[in-house]
């Protein structure tokens, strides 16, 4: 098979998403190294990686053009949309769509899909992901507030 190719593909997705957001011009001749170690995978791994990456960039104090978060949507066989699916739900789903949503105007930074779906279903998943992004951004705010209230 193609061992390692999946990891490279994921690295490309994460790297290009971060590159679009980090204001690199403010740090010339600098390398920003982002290391993600998967401790356990119970589904929605890519969006978990995206959220971890954004929070790490925030924690590092790097200048960002916008925040981003990852949302995974699973389209179940009966047509219902399930957000943040478990590994089992992902396997049973007809299609699994992962989006990276930017905090400014909820635009799409990154999109990747598994399985096939109709155009309407994709738009519905995107809308659901954009709505869910607000919850995740609130979580970021709360986490950062908690971190700095202790100091």
């Amino acid at each position: 098979g193609c061992a390692g190719v999946l990891e490279r593909s994921r690295e490309q997705l994460l790297r290009q998403t971060c590159e679009a957001v980090v204001l690199g011009v403010l740090h010339p001749r600098t390398a920003i190294s982002l290391v993600l170690q998967v401790l356990s995978d119970a589904g929605s791994l890519l969006s978990c990686c995206l959220n971890a990456a954004c929070m790490a960039l925030l924690d590092a104090g790097l200048p960002l053009a916008t925040l981003f978060c990852g949302v995974t949507c699973a389209l179940q066989p009966d047509g219902t949309i399930l957000l943040d699916p478990t590994a089992r739900q992902e396997q049973e789903a007809r299609a699994v769509l992962t989006f990276a949503i930017a905090s400014s105007e909820r635009k799409v930074l990154m999109a990747t899909t598994k399985g096939s779906c109709s155009v309407e279903e994709m738009q519905q998943c995107l809308a659901a992901a954009q709505r869910a992004a607000s919850t995740i951004f609130q979580f970021y705010r709360d986490s950062v507030r908690r971190r700095y209230s202790k100091c």
Binding site: Q16, E105, V108, A111
Partner: protein
């Protein structure tokens, strides 16, 4: 107007054209380059492959060779064969690629092709099974870029589809007494292709402008890329936006609409070529 050099200030040079809604090579923003496809042993001249196709998208040239071999199916999927795609970007296709192990772009492209095959179900792995648990076909799909001028993914998906449509598999039976497989090369059947996925790629310029079928120069200047793969029923097999400038849902929808239109053109072209190659 001041003189703007293509080599010194490429982005400014491009912006002058984009303001007039066209590109330096004379194309409009939504226009594709000339697409040609050659299929089969006579035109494509890979005599050792079971199926082959050569696709040219402007200067971008991609060749795909499919080889079918026999293997035992995996224990957990005894009724499924295998499809193994591999995209190669040898150093002869562009300066940026060095010889050695496959770089990130080649690996990401290989994963993309594997995803397209799986998502679209263009070939159902159960169709590749000959005898449950004992024998199945393995299709090695090698996609090699001979000349890289942007839009690798569209050309690769097209080459793969054309090559697979060209594949003829010999009839294989298992001898009951000896348990060995017998290959009948005189009786060949075409591969069952259930869906015809077509990829359409866009480059995002300055966060707002979408241009279709980017050349290598345009890809380097772009701030992002989007690739949409659709099948003949208008279903989405893949929405591939690996980072880059953020897009609104409406702009993404615009890309999808154009991808569906492009699918019809490509399907017509491939049907025409298949018909001309099939012996009457």
């Amino acid at each position: 107007t001041s003189i703007c050099s293509r080599t010194v200030e490429p982005l400014e040079y491009y912006r002058r054209f984009l303001k007039e809604n066209c590109r330096p090579d004379g194309r409009e923003l939504g226009e594709f380059r000339t697409t040609t496809v050659n299929i089969g042993k006579c035109l494509c001249s890979i005599t050792t492959a079971d199926g082959s196709a050569l696709v040219k998208l402007g200067n971008t040239t991609v060749i795909c060779g499919v080889k079918a071999e026999l293997a035992a199916p995996a224990v957990d999927s005894a009724n499924k064969g295998y499809i193994v795609p591999n995209v190669e970007l040898p150093s002869l296709c562009a300066e940026r690629f060095r010889s050695g192990p496959p770089g990130e772009e080649a690996q990401a492209a290989s994963q993309f092709i594997a995803d397209v095959i799986e998502n679209s179900q263009m070939i159902v792995k159960e169709d590749l099974c000959i005898a449950n648990g004992k024998l199945a076909w393995v299709l090695y799909c090698d996609i090699i870029c001979l000349d890289y001028d942007g839009n690798l993914l569209d050309a690769s998906v097209f080459a793969l589809l054309a090559a697979l449509k060209n594949v003829q598999l010999p009839l294989v039976t298992i001898n009951e007494e000896t348990g060995l497989s017998e290959v009948n090369l005189k009786q060949k059947n075409p591969l069952i292709i259930r869906k015809h996925p077509v990829a359409t790629s866009f480059a995002i310029f300055d966060d707002t402008l979408l241009i279709v079928d980017p050349t290598a120069e345009e890809e380097d200047l772009a701030t992002g890329t989007v690739t949409i793969v659709t099948d003949e029923e208008g279903r989405l097999c893949s929405v591939h936006k690996p980072g880059g400038s953020p897009l609104t849902g409406a702009k993404l929808q615009d890309c999808i609409t154009r991808a569906i239109t492009r699918h019809k053109e490509v399907k017509k072209l491939i049907d025409k070529v298949i018909k001309s190659v099939t012996p009457k």
